[in-house]
Amino acid sequence: MIPLSWYLTLAAGLFSFGLYGVLARKNAIAILMGVELMLNAVNINLVAFWRYLTSDSMNGQAFAVMVFAVAAAEVAVGLALVISVYRRRKTVSADEINLMKW
């Protein structure tokens, strides 16, 4: 039997890699990939807690399905923004997209 703490540790590690990717990468698409890693870590946590603590109802899995839908919407709009920015500025580097920087 796998202890719950193993799943949570895996999710913490995966979330931290995603956080590093979001904070450190320059390319806007790489930042979106980091966000995907973080969402997956959250999903592992949701399903693990569902399986270990509340498996008599389906709440955890239903939340995970919502996270899937939001992730799909987020990546569609995010990549559309990236392509739109690329078309105007010929760059997708996050530190060169500074028109609205104060």
Binding site: I2, P3, L4, S5, W6, Y7, L8, L10, A12, G13, L14, F15, S16, F17, G18, L19, Y20, G21, L23, A24, R25, K26, N27, I29, A30, L32, M33, E36, L37, N40, N43, V47, R51, L53, S55, M58, N59, Q61, A62, A64, M66, A69, V70, A71, A72, A73, V75, A76, V77, L79, A80, V82, I83, S84, Y86, R88, K90, T91, V92, S93
Partner: protein, 176 residues
Amino acid sequence: MTPIQVVFLFTAALILWAAFMMVTRQNLVHAALYLIVALFGVAVIFVLLEAGFLAVIQVLVYIGAIAILMIFAVMLTRGDVSHESESVNRGFGWAALLAALFCFGLIILLGQSPAINTPAPALAVDRDTVFELGRALVSPDAYVIPFEVASVLLLAALIGALVVARPHIKEKSKQR
């Protein structure tokens, strides 16, 4: 150590390795391929957690749609990226420090939780969790409103992505 634990440890090592490679690769197409490896590992984790439907959705939605969309976007925006000398910004040391601190903080915090040692209750043999999940998503006293809101959100994202990514009319006439 039981075989299922060996499977878990192997999958977890694969996921974390792929995630590390993903955030450190310069070439974004390689990063997207490592992202696919990590997403597939998460699907295996869902199977280990007896959430088979979510594992299928993970492969369909994340690998089949999101990762492919990422690769398309990488290839559509390839102008200056491949020649870029550095792929991380100046503060990447702080980012790494923050991420490591966050990870250790989370692990220490969850070690103090009393729920951490609960064994997984066995699911009843005749229980159909896919059926129950489908019922929960459309039943009025469970998740029908979030379900409908999610469908509106997806429609809004579809229209929004089309509007945002469409070339503007002025630009189009300039290009001609």
